[in-house]
Symmetry: C2
Subunit: 337 residues, 2 copies
């Protein structure tokens, strides 16, 4: 019981990018469990763009309080339980935080079913990533076979699944990403019809070239200028799934909105916000489709693993400079054998 729980606590509100000193490393003893409680050893901590929102402002969840353990999604193993619903060895997920151990009443833990996938698939394929890609694209975007789907952060954790699911549904799929290596990966390995390196190419011209009939569905993870260029080229009755606006998360003043928004009006487009939390209850329906697609080789995922909880504050920056390759996670402790 005298084990140590290493933690990253939020020390101050970030301004712009996360910086040294935004988090403080703390160690405290792992507490003894009370009745009904569960002790979880965290295995994988998920690093996500939304971490930046949680650190600075109330949004769809309240901001993390200064001094509190940083909020983060994670996967862990139950080590001890005084709660009848959980037994040692159970694999769980939840907002476990940037720490090595999490003590829960059980109500905020989701027990993961035993499925024929490796544990890291819960980070890169299933879990919030898979739910976001699946429900965001299919429920909000409603792509139809033959339509043109554009995906931003197309080589990212969510984007790479979105593009592949759109291909499975028979769409023409164009991805935007930030390096030639990623462009090659999404076309050759993932089956995108075309890729645009937004750091090198003129995005408006490239979209015109690759989407000659206009853009029917845009899965937006970035907002900003790319959203504006897409709005300039939407087809009649286009659907924009607003899933993230990472381009603005580090802004110290609100970035300007998209001036082409008038096209929503003249082309009867629809833009709708999407947060995966609203779909958690439908996870099974999603996984029932994703796993066979993955097993058949039609849906690939990639995880980018940083080792050790200590690395989290540095690793999270890679989401914002685009240097991560696949779903970014931190290995906090070894996978159970």
């Amino acid at each position: 019981m005298s084990r140590t729980n290493g933690q990253w606590r939020l020390a101050r509100r970030p301004v712009g990018n996360f910086q040294d000193g935004d988090f403080t490393w703390c160690e405290e003893p792992v507490p003894a469990l009370g009745d009904g409680q569960v002790l979880v050893r965290i295995v994988y901590l998920s690093l996500d763009p939304t971490n930046r929102i949680w650190a600075s402002q109330d949004s769809y969840l309240p901001a993390v309080k200064l001094g509190d353990v940083m909020r983060g999604g994670g996967i862990g193993v139950v080590e001890e339980s005084k709660n009848g619903a959980f037994a040692p060895g159970d694999v769980v997920q939840g907002l476990l935080g940037w720490q090595q151990f999490y003590v829960s009443s059980g109500s905020d833990l989701q027990k993961l079913p035993k499925l024929p996938v490796p544990l890291d698939a819960w980070s890169g394929l299933l879990g919030a990533i898979g739910l976001t890609a699946y429900f965001g694209l299919l429920e909000i975007g409603q792509p139809k076979a033959g339509e043109t789907v554009v995906v931003s952060t197309a080589a990212g954790a969510v984007g790479s699944l979105v593009g592949q699911i759109a291909k499975i549904k028979g769409c023409r799929v164009v991805g935007l990403t930030g390096s030639d290596e990623k462009c090659e990966w999404i076309v050759k390995d993932l089956g995108y019809d075309a890729a645009i390196n937004y750091k090198k190419e003129n995005v408006a011209e490239a979209l015109r070239k690759h989407c000659p009939k206009g853009i029917d569905v845009y899965f937006d993870n970035v907002g900003g200028d790319i959203l504006n260029e897409v709005l300039g080229q939407i087809a009649l009755r286009a659907r924009i799934v607003s899933c993230g606006m990472i381009s603005g998360y580090n802004a110290t003043t609100p970035p300007p909105g998209p001036s082409n928004i008038i096209n929503l009006l003249v082309r009867r487009g629809r833009m709708e916000g999407f947060i995966v939390l609203d779909y958690l209850s439908r996870a099974e329906e999603c996984f029932r489709e994703l796993i066979p697609w993955w097993a058949a080789g039609k849906l690939k995922y990639r995880v980018d693993i940083a080792d050790g909880l200590e690395s989290a504050p540095k690793a999270v920056l890679r989401l914002f400079d685009g240097s991560n390759a696949g779903k970014l996670i931190v290995r906090v402790s070894p996978e159970p054998s």
Copy 2:
């Protein structure tokens, strides 16, 4: 047959507001009818914000060609017909243009049914105005009883109907308009719960005061800053009906988009463009509800009539400075007795 057809033709693309010289007054003889043709004497010409779009750019309809008669909706009476589907005395509507007479093949005319309403009701209550208010609010906005609905140009032709229909549906309704007189009219005569004079009041503060639970539905006729302030105060799962962006129609460079658009994401809002042309086939369903509401005194309309086709280029400016009171129309010739 030697009667004259006075016309306003588009002489050049407007820059900013319409100006002297954008239109040229022409007179030509009313032509003799060929087989299948119909001669319509125009009674009321409708002046609408979208006229400004039609004059300058391709949009949901192609731009009016330079030298052509300016496009405009209108109501008229058939004077002569060599088309079996129309008889002298029939009342019709369509895109009759800024002219005194219109010669049609009949395919672009809609015969108006004999309904227990005055002829100007086809301008101010039924026709495109009523369809826009009814389907835009109910199909796109989907207001539920008890929700808060905000309407811009709340004393205007469309807005005043939207606000009253929202009241009929049991909503709390807040209107934005540009004068104290109009504020008083929409609250006292139309039954709005509150009015905001956007020219005098701080819009963000006034919205906070009148919409303490946030804004569930916004019927947007203006875009621009007011759209941005509304986006800042939307409730969870808000619906924004994007029906017009008059604040930007005269802009010579695209105005910046709304920086609060990120709230669509975090509050899972939906913003959707709406064009009445998509709903013309469902007119009867709409009028069947609007007319009894009007007859029962629950739905009022107001027309603001400019006399004589010559007045059209000056009168249309009143849409953009907000000085019209109700649906703006031009009386081109007398109502049939």
